[in-house]
Amino acid sequence: MISRILLATLITCSFAARLAASPEEAQKRLKTAVNEVLAVADRVANRANMAESLRPTLQKHISFETMTRRAVGLGWKTFTPAQQKQAIQLFSTLIIRSYSSKFTPGEYPVINYQKAQTPATGRVDVPTSMVYKGSRYSVTYRMEQESGWRIADVVIEGVSLVANYRSQLDAQYKKGGAEAVLGSLAQSVSRPQ
């Protein structure tokens, strides 16, 4: 009897684990994230407060640590833990600010989610077609599983956010290592909008 219960539990756990790792689950998670972000953005009366209002929601659904690591690239291993923490903090501030500036109160995107793809284990790409402010965009969300599905990159019209910063930070790293990367990020963050 006990062995049957154990077996049933194992099967249930295995099924649940597979479901959690499925592309459908990643897509569901993405839809939740997008809806939450739009709901928060819709409540923000003053556009100047948009970035700070969206920050908690974005930090919940976007893996800024993964993004920063990949944007820095191979040089990441030479960063001290304190430098890594600072880089993540600066990079996330930059991305949140950039992302938040795209929202115009009263404008709502129409998003058509297409079939999710699995380029590698633990990774799911969700292509979407988005119509925003009268223009159509192709946007792919790259999701990764790390304590739940989280957004690890956004590709707009073929332009990967992470790859774009990677090309810039790579050049900085070659100039002066971690300090140059941190300096350039700090400079960008402090630039007036």
Binding site: L74, K77, V159, N164, R166, S167, K174, G176
Partner: protein, 271 residues
Amino acid sequence: MKIIVLRLMLSGAVALAAACSTTRSPKVVADSKPEAAESGATKAAPEAQAGTDELDDYAEPSVSDPLESFNRVMFKTNDCLYLVIFRPISKGYELAFPKPVRKGIDNAFENVKYPVRFVNCALQGKFKRAGQETGKFLVNTLGGVGGIFRVSDKVPDLANIPAEDLGQTLAKWGVGHGPFIVLPLFGPSSARETVGLAGDYALNPVNWGLFFRGGGGDLAKDWTMIPPSANTLRSLPEQLEIYDAATKDAVDPYISARSAFIQNRAEATRK
């Protein structure tokens, strides 16, 4: 000029150019100009090891940029020109014409560009897509009051056709980017895309008046400037928005625009 802005949009500026293999290679950055040799190299970076590490997932595709010094100067010059000349013009246009009117104008100009899309579909052997483009043109011209209303969006088969251009055609034929170059006013480009730009310009009916302005007085010749000038004007707001998207929060706006341009053109060719 209109084309300038268009390319800039996704690239952050506009373009033509270099042997840009889309192969991801960790050597790429080392191949492009040695920035460390330039000013600002305060401290040598520790050697980062290339390999199959996931950190290497986003190594930049190879970009040939032998003209980087010139390109950076041109990039700055363009940025100033956008700020001083084109942004005020764009703002004025946006103030003068409400958004629905601007949308209709954009639709009409894009509709007229049908020969660019049709010819390049055909040159790439995409005959089904060429047929769809023809259908879209007819539907919008006849049902959308000369293309002012994009009624084709309501027809699923015609709603989202990737626009073909000569740069993509050349890429399909195996022509590499060649060197990356920042064109005056037009912005980021490459040798290949510059040729494409010129070809598309010639195929666009709004520019045809410039090629056939033979006889007639000066007044008749002046009229030929109106369609291309209007085309440039109407595309300014969107192009500047794209340029800003690629450069505003960048660590290095020049590299950001270059990367966005190369990535975007690779994606356009894949579609």
